[in-house]
Structures are given as structure tokens and as C-alpha cells.
Symmetry: C2
Subunit: 389 residues, 2 copies
């Protein structure tokens, strides 16, 4: 037993939280797991316990009672700095809640991998979720720090450090444009609650950044440091990862500096039920399709439409949107449904979404293929077998 | 001679401005004409005299010396109102300049028309231009009127009336979201200068709205009235035009209320030189391509890349961007160039752009076809014949 304790202490992953068995595990150490798509579409708000998990390192374990935890906030010059513990943060600033979907840059990578192998976790369609986040506005904190609403700092960044660290003790760190953080309609918050409860360790207890409309990699968990800077983060995750390139670029000769770090994500949509390869039974002669769309591109633009084709793009049906949609600050996904008559035993189903700037999805993964397998937002295409009802 | 004068007075188009002969005329009354693409790509700033013209009605002729002209600005309740003449507007508010591209919703409609006929002016690729606009910030005027920076008015609109009128004397009128008008980084201005000179009649003298990143239909010319409203404009141009639908929708049964009015436009790009069907001579064995891309989707997001394919999408080359590009508030287009080796006598060239949210263009016009022929932003595809050098 003493030997076992010793072993655990040597294993940086010895103190991981318990996870829900329904999650589909992609890697155990670090822990990466997604929600099965059929479950994802059941709820507008994804229950916390089945929300996808994407970690780079072991999960930090913060003891708030020990007085060790605080957030250091640093401005452009040394005179600007704040140091707040969680109680102070909650007391000083007005709470703000945001319903926002979170998605990994690599969601749907497995579909791109089928075109040609890519590097990265083999996500299906479930590396995303939707939650109600509660915290304080980063804008309010930065105004307190002395940051101005001005044109001149438009190219500045806000850097975030997490408590999670690589084996050399370098923290997970990234940055977002200061203009997004300062935007009164940007809804960037420092969140301490998820779905009405204290953040869980797997989702960043005690504090994570919520950056609506922006890729998951920027929503730093276990937040410990915020710094306003004239330049974006120099971290690996900002500079040499989470970028997309031309399909003809390859690892051997790519110049990472030629592409910007992914921040906002393009419009996308998926079919959740049935799933690719499944056999489904018609209801009143109709194929029942259910899915999700995200149109967070462009700062929370709502969706205009979700279109479905059962004949390889020759004709298109408009799906019904289940959840409420606004045209602005629409940070949450929308579930859709379509019941369509089919008269064949096998059918291919295509879905694509259109956002309120009429951006739509590319027709396939071929032309957007990239070596890192990110931004896999081509039409979602599945084949299903159909039983008459 | 008297008879001639009588005739002219009866013709609402008798008092039109002179236009540059290089413009390609699409309709004479109302006057609609575009810039040939080969000229468009010669300048970052399009010279005013060859800037495309898109009118719905005869061109108003405002006499500033007559004291008749003023702008009425009305808020949500009657107590909020301002009435300013041009001198007052210029004196009271700080001038602000913006370099912004303007594009008609129907630009490139002729390419979509080839898939299946659509309704609208047969624009090629030249119903767009780039200019430096100078005026006053609409935000400043609205703050003076008493409009607040608040979440509660996020769904309100700002309505604009022009002096141009339909035969029933209804003015051309549309609206934009108030959130765009109030955005400190939105750069919406009431412009009285274009490219360093007083606005010309064809471009809205004495005042037009400039709404960077938004479709041309909202940049009201000959502006005479501004009204803040809880609802968007009820005009024809807001409600029953300038909208896009599913490819399977048709005029007979479409419900216009189901689609939002076009505001922001999606990312697009075109090849300007050579043009479709041309024969071109290689330089040092290379095909010289020149073109434009616009990535105004998402509030002035810059472009990440312009990709060129000479083999129907199997491999892609990255074009060189000629003009400076920012990642934020990039309201102007960017010219690109690519010199690519070709070893065949006939080649098809494809171009597509990718914006900083990694939105890209659809592969063709087929799946985005819509009855009104708007948002024609599929890859631009041309065929050229090649002479060895
Ligand atoms: Mo991610
Ligand atoms: Mo237009």
C-alpha cells in the first residue's frame, strides 16, 4: 500500500477527477474525451458531466482554503497591476452570465483524416458543448486596470496563463485580441460557474476564461495570470499549433508565422441522429434527422438557415430550428430537425448551415484539408440505411 | 429648342450627371454601370470617375446654396430630434476617415446566372470599388441624440432615407442594426468626401452613409433622414429584396420574411487579369495572375490567404498579397498576384480566399444559387489559353 502511494505520487496523472463513463475517450493521459453526438443533440444546454473534455496536461487541483490561489492581472506598464483572490473578484465586479458554445479547433478532425492523414486527436463530432457560464466581465477588470477604450490598442492582446504545465513547468498560455476583450458586446468573462454550479476541476476550477465565438484553445482553464501586451502570446499553442494552412502545405517546410492563430471559428453544422452507417426506421414515411449548427463566426452572428440535401446537392430542404436564435450575440448553437420523405433503401444525407452574413460551409473536406486537421467544417455527409415503417 | 426643353423636363432622367465612357453600362435608366475588372485591379483606391454606379432611380440634384437641404435625425421618442445642415454637421462633429470597399449584393450575378437564370442586373466582377471616405461618425451623432450604449437596444435599427424616390414618391430607404452604428470600432460614418474630394452626385452628394463591411444597398446616398427605431425598415429594399434563399426556393411561393436582410457580406475573391476566355502570354514560363479579394465578413476581418488552383482543386498555391492587411477593421479589399508555371495550352484557374475566422468560399455557384442572384461568392473559375513566351 505504501508502494502504491509512492507510485501514484510519481504519476502526474494520479490525481485526476472521476469522469462520466458515457464519454468517448480519445486519450487518457492527458485526458481527452468527447460527447457522443446522439446525446449532444438531446439538450440545448449540455449537462456538465457529459461535456467534452480537452486537456493538454494533468488537471491542477486548487485548494481555495489554503489562500494560495489568486489572479495576477498586469497592464502594459508596471504601475498597472491587480492581484485578486476569487472572493475579491466576485465582490468587486458585477456578475454576468452568458450562454455560449465551446468547440475544439479539431472537432470533426476524423472526417478530414479520411481524406488524407492529419496530426491530432481523432475527434468525431462531439468535441463541443453548450453551457451557461457565469462570472465577471473581463472588460470591467481591464477598465479597472487602466486599459482604455481606444483605437490605438486595437492590435494589442490579452494573455492568459493556466495552472496546467508542460513537463518543463511552462504553463499553458495563449492570448486573444484586446479588442475582443474590451468589446462591450463581446461577452468575454472570467467564469467561476458552469450551468449554475461551481466550475468542476475538469472545466477549470476555480476560474476559466469564456471567449464566446472563439475557439476552445483560448478559453484558458485554471486561470492564474492575465497580462495586457502589445504582442500576442509567444507560446507554442499560439504560434505553432491551432493554425490552418493551404492543403498543399506540409510539416516539413511550413512556416508557422505565415498563418494567424485561430480565434473566431467558421460556421458549421452536423447531423447527430442518425449517425453515419446506421440503419434507421422511417416514421410516417419520413426520415427523421436531428442535428446541431454553430454560427459563431463573425462575433455571434445567428444562423440564417440549415439546408439538407438527400440527392448530393441537387435539391435542398430547409430544416426547422428548434432553439431560439438571435442575429446578434448568438453565442450558442441551435439544434435543428427535419423530417423528410425518402423512397430508397440507402441514402446519403448532407447538411450545411448559412450564417447571417451568408457565409456557408465548403462542400467537402478536400479543399480545406490541412496538416493539423483543424477547421474541419465541410458539409457533414452521412450514409444511412432506411427501413420502411 | 423649346420643345426639347419640354421633353427633358418630362423625362425624370434628363438631369443625369456625365459618366466616364470606360464604365460598362448594365442599364441606362436608372443608371447602373460597373468597372471593367482589368482596370479595377490597377489601383488600391478606385478612382472616383471609374467607380461603379448602382442607382434605383434618377439622380437627385441638391443645391446647397438654396438652404433647402438638411438632415433630420429622429430618436425613439419625439423629444429626441436634431436637424442639421451640412455646415453644422461638419462643424459640430470631429471628422473621421475610413478606407472601405463597397460591393453590390449582386456582384458576380452573371456567373450565377449561368447555372440557372436569376433576376437582377447582369453584373460581372466589377460592381465593387474601394475608396477613402471622410465624414462624421454616426455614433457621435446618435450619442448627441441621446442614444445609449446599452444591451437593451441591441435589436434596434437605424433607418436611412435617401432623396431618390420611386414613381410613387416613396424614398429609397433601408436600415442597419443599431449595434453596428454604435460600435466604436464599427466605423459607420456620414460621408461628405470620397477620395479627398466633395462627393459627386453619382456617389450621393451631399451626404451618404458609409457602412464598412456591409452590402452596398445599406450605404444610402443623398441622405436626408435618419431614424432610430425598434424595428428594421419596412421598405421594399429591406423586406422583399436583397435577401438570399435556399437554392430550391422560387419566386412563386417564397416567404420573404423567412430570410434576414443582407447586412454583412461573406468572404470573396476574383481573378481580374487575365479574364475568362482570354489568351495570355507566359512571362518566364509563368502565367501572371492578378486579382482582388474582400474579406469584410465578420466586421472587417482581414484575409488569411488567397489560394489558387490550376488543377481543379487537387493542389493549391498561395498568392502574394499586394496591399497591407490588418486582422481587424480591415474594411478594404486586398489585391493579390501569383506567377505560376504552366506547361499546357489551356488551363482553368480557380481562386478562393480564406478570412481570419477561416471562413472560405463555396466551391461553386450551384449550391448557393438563389433566385435573386445575390451573394454569388463561389470560387471564381476562368479558362485561359496560354502562349509560350
Ligand atoms: Mo482545441
Ligand atoms: Mo446592390
Amino acid at each position: 500500500e505504501e508502494h502504491l502511494a509512492m507510485m501514484n505520487m510519481d504519476d502526474p496523472y494520479a490525481n485526476e477527477p472521476q469522469r462520466h463513463p458515457v464519454l468517448t475517450i480519445r486519450t487518457k493521459k492527458p485526458f481527452n474525451a468527447e460527447t457522443p453526438a446522439s446525446l449532444l443533440v438531446e439538450n440545448f444546454i449540455t449537462p456538465t458531466e457529459i461535456f467534452y473534455i480537452r486537456h493538454h496536461f494533468p488537471v491542477p487541483d486548487v485548494d481555495l482554503s489554503s489562500d494560495d490561489y489568486s489572479i495576477e492581472i498586469v497592464g502594459i506598464d508596471e504601475k498597472q497591476s491587480l492581484n485578486l483572490n476569487l472572493d475579491q473578484l466576485k465582490t468587486v465586479y458585477t456578475p454576468h452570465s452568458v450562454t455560449a458554445s465551446l468547440q475544439c479547433s479539431g472537432n470533426r478532425r476524423s472526417e478530414m483524416n479520411r481524406v488524407k492523414p492529419v496530426k491530432g486527436l481523432e475527434w468525431a463530432q462531439g468535441a463541443m458543448g453548450n453551457a451557461v457560464w457565469k462570472g465577471v466581465r473581463l472588460r470591467d477588470v481591464l477598465l479597472d486596470l487602466g486599459v482604455k477604450d481606444s483605437d490605438e490598442n486595437d492590435n494589442w492582446h490579452v494573455r492568459f496563463d493556466g495552472l496546467d504545465m508542460d513537463p518543463t513547468s511552462a504553463p499553458y498560455a495563449v492570448s486573444i485580441p484586446l479588442s475582443k476583450a474590451m468589446d462591450p458586446r463581446g461577452d468575454v468573462i472570467l467564469a467561476y460557474e458552469m450551468n449554475g454550479e461551481t466550475l468542476t476541476r475538469d472545466h477549470g476550477f476555480p476560474l476559466r476564461v469564456v471567449v464566446p465565438g472563439t475557439t476552445g484553445a483560448r478559453w484558458v482553464k485554471w486561470l492564474t495570470r492575465i497580462e495586457v501586451s502589445k504582442n500576442e502570446s509567444e507560446s507554442h499553442w499560439q504560434q505553432n499549433d491551432y493554425k490552418s494552412f493551404n492543403p498543399s502545405a506540409d510539416w516539413a517546410k511550413v512556416d508557422w508565422s505565415t498563418a494567424p492563430a485561430i480565434q473566431e471559428m467558421p460556421v458549421t453544422s452536423v447531423i447527430c441522429d442518425p449517425q453515419d452507417g446506421e440503419t434507421t426506421t422511417l416514421q410516417d414515411g419520413k426520415l427523421q434527422l436531428r442535428g446541431l449548427r454553430y454560427a459563431w463566426s463573425g462575433g455571434g452572428r445567428g444562423i440564417v438557415r440549415v439546408d439538407i440535401s438527400l440527392d448530393l446537392g441537387k435539391t435542398w430542404h430547409v430544416a426547422e430550428l428548434i432553439d431560439p436564435v438571435g442575429l446578434n450575440r448568438q453565442w450558442a448553437w441551435t439544434r435543428w430537425r427535419a423530417d423528410l420523405p425518402v423512397a430508397v433503401k440507402e441514402t446519403e444525407v448532407w447538411v450545411r448551415a448559412v450564417d447571417s452574413a451568408y457565409n456557408t460551409q465548403p462542400e467537402g473536406m478536400e479543399h480545406i484539408w490541412n496538416m493539423r486537421g483543424v477547421m474541419a467544417v465541410g458539409y457533414h455527409k452521412i450514409k444511412v440505411s432506411v427501413n420502411a415503417d
